[in-house]
């Protein structure tokens, strides 16, 4: 996937929100290091979200920093006075036993610090293993929910299903339209379309046949990066047919008929 498609997929907006899995976060980070334009996009999105969220605060909390500083015992004042305690010269025999005790104490302190950090790193390993397992379950759940959701849409009673067949420019292409007329919603299953070449997008059209009038339902953004290739668009038209054409990025005013990939007629109502 090139950086443009990556940006258009909307993954960076979710990255800033913290809505991605740990693995996805690492992928985004790698893309940011590789492509400056991806990095720039993340910074812009972040700036927008910082401003949007900041606008919901009607309270001036600047002064709270002092409270936090006090709570943490932090002070800007680095020049603390050192108190000097006079040391009396110990008697020689006590001096050596004193040193010995200090060395023993020191060793045992070091030992216990090492032991603790050992345990801590073990704990961290276990915790990150736990996270990884959670991630796997989450991922599996995600896939399952997507499939269930799809199925429930397709099973709705009032849905009109329209198969779109491949046309001259791409005879092997196919697509399916599921039209929920009541909700003015169209779900498109575009698994049977090839990835559009760079700089091109698919555009979806609603058609009335007599006379032939196309109305754009929108362009499909982020086609290549979408895994299940199911998209939804709004359709308030009295469509008699649906078509999908390949258009320059951003879409066209009217369909380029030489680039008509798939077409299908709505079965007339009983």
């Amino acid at each position: 996937m090139n950086s443009k498609e990556y940006i258009a997929s909307g993954i960076l907006e979710l990255y800033v929100a913290g809505a991605l899995s740990e693995k996805e976060n690492e992928e985004v980070y790698a893309m940011m290091q590789k492509y400056p334009e991806v990095m720039q996009e993340v910074l812009s999105i972040e700036a927008a979200i910082v401003q949007l969220t900041a606008a919901t605060s009607a309270t001036d909390t600047t002064g709270i920093f002092d409270v936090i500083q006090t709570e943490l015992n932090l002070s800007d004042d680095t020049s603390r006075e050192t108190t000097i305690v006079p040391i009396q010269k110990p008697r020689s025999i006590f001096r050596y036993t004193g040193w010995a005790a200090a060395v023993i104490l020191g060793i045992s302190l070091i030992y216990s610090v090492l032991k603790t950090s050992d345990l801590q790193s073990e704990l961290e390993v276990v915790q990150s293993e736990k996270e990884a397992l959670k991630e796997q379950i989450y991922k599996a759940n995600n896939d399952l929910t997507a499939a269930t959701k799809l199925l429930s849409v397709l099973r709705t009673k009032d849905i009109i299903s329209v198969p779109l067949g491949g046309q001259a420019v791409s005879p092997t292409s196919y697509a399916k339209v599921y039209w929920d007329k009541k909700a003015n919603q169209v779900y498109l299953d575009l698994q049977g379309l090839p990835d559009p070449p760079a700089g091109k997008v698919y555009q979806v059209w609603s058609l009335t046949l007599n006379p032939l009038t196309p109305t754009s339902l929108g362009v499909i953004e982020g086609f290549s990066s979408d895994k299940d290739k199911v998209f939804d668009v709004t359709n308030t038209n009295e469509s008699e047919a649906f078509g999908i054409t390949l258009e320059p990025a951003g879409g066209s005013e009217s369909p380029t008929l030489e680039q008509l990939y798939t077409l299908g007629v709505v079965a007339s109502n009983p």
Partner: protein, 176 residues
């Protein structure tokens, strides 16, 4: 100073860097907490806890795992959501309207001193219902894609593009 440097200094327990980061994000973090708990005193308390926690756990932040702002956002949302589940909070009234953040921005008088205030107010007032919901879930409540897809009853695959379209409008207005 560059953000990366500032974060690095913060991790080395530099109080000045800590204060700079606080000044950058305190409004955003407070806003998100307030949107969840809907009570100013409680939100202020949680804001303190969040930054105390951030200072104490500074070592655990790692740029490879996400943005610093996102890290703070996560701490804040978790703390705020924990609070809403606590016993003391259950007594306070809780309304669950999804466009609470819209309401906060529209009625925010202290915004007027800041730039983009008019634009932001206009943006949220024109915001499509589906954008209000998706922004509330993803940025303020910290829902995952899956949770958002379930709550809005739209296919998982459309969350990303729909959210991007909503945020694009915001960026156009803010010119970022």
């Amino acid at each position: 100073m560059e953000l990366e440097k500032l974060i690095e200094k913060f991790q080395q327990k530099d109080v000045k860097a800590f204060e700079s980061l606080y000044t950058m994000y305190n409004d955003s973090i407070f806003g998100v907490i307030y949107t969840i708990v809907k009570n100013e005193d409680i939100a202020t308390e949680i804001l303190q806890d969040v930054f105390v926690k951030a200072w104490n756990k500074a070592d655990s932040y790692n740029a490879g795992k996400g943005r610093f702002f996102t890290w703070l956002l996560n701490i804040a949302r978790n703390a705020a959501i924990d609070k809403t589940r606590s016993k003391s909070f259950k007594n306070a009234q809780q309304n669950l309207d999804v466009d609470f953040f819209v309401h906060s921005i529209e009625t925010n008088d202290s915004l007027d001193e800041k730039t983009n205030a008019i634009g932001l107010k206009k943006y949220v007032s024109k915001l499509a219902e589906k954008c209000k919901k998706i922004i509330d879930f993803i940025y303020f409540k910290g829902y995952t894609q899956k949770e958002t897809s379930e709550a809005l009853e739209i296919p998982l695959g459309t969350i990303k593009t729909r959210n991007r379209n909503c945020i694009n409008e915001l960026r156009k207005m803010l010119e970022v």
